[in-house]
Symmetry: C2
Subunit: 152 residues, 2 copies
């Protein structure tokens, strides 16, 4: 999937993503970088709403797992089970969300369990930045469900 | 503030709130109940996007604190510092977010510290439900800033 295809997929399957103005800047199995403008994501203090911040972090992590599944020819359903966010400084301009996964052994364990049991969990971290300065830290647990066990 | 005034304030100061279709059902110092339709909050599995779920929980908690501050004639700025969400079951229809705060001693300690130091923290919990069945649990730390110390 090209970056443009991933962006179209996100916008069509997650309406909030379009409302937030999210664009895809990078999307590889190792790293996803999403960007969003300030205006549609404002809070009453003229900075980024905490709900927008965690939503784009979830999208970055979910996109990374989706890119990995598709690149490998798999098709697990990926559902978030837990999210936590620490807001470290207010974001007062356009911003980015980044998620990286370079620990291949960890992903291989997730895949192996998913194949064996039809269900497995993986924890990803992500962060938000404004002008390359880190502004928030995210951690999320995602559950992968083998394609044929995906009625949810 | 009436329920209609609170809803107008949320929609005008948090654009994402409007995009999510959030409406205010109850708003007292003890309890806030917000509602949202499924359609603008969908994920690719035809259930509620995890980002929408945590965003409406943050809004419910933030609204409760704002209602309390205004009802008491105070005007602290309220900023989220940490959020965590546990997704317990997929939400497949219109849903609600509820936040309650009935521990007056805890709120009194927060107010006292805010007055004395210009800054204080309070933890609130909230939950999401579909047809009165609980679907997700939220916890958030909010920092209150005395009005005159609110440059953020």
């Amino acid at each position: 999937m090209s970056i443009a295809e991933i962006e179209r997929y996100l916008h069509s399957s997650v309406p909030l993503c379009r409302a937030m103005g999210v664009s895809v800047r990078e999307a590889s199995p190792a790293r996803v970088r999403l960007a969003a403008p300030l205006a549609p994501n404002l809070n009453p203090h003229a900075s980024v709403f905490g709900g927008s911040a965690v939503a784009i972090a979830i999208l970055a992590a979910w996109t990374l797992l989706t890119v990995r599944e598709r690149a490998a020819g798999y098709g697990a359903g990926l559902i978030i089970q837990r999210s936590s966010m620490r807001y470290e400084r207010p974001i007062t301009a356009d911003f980015e969300a980044l998620c990286e996964l370079t620990d291949e052994a960890r992903y291989a364990r997730f895949r192996a369990l998913l194949e064996r049991r039809g269900r497995a969990r993986i924890t990803l971290t992500a962060w938000l930045q404004q002008d390359t300065v880190r502004a928030a830290s995210f951690e999320g647990d995602f559950v992968g469900l083998r394609a044929r066990e995906r009625p949810r």
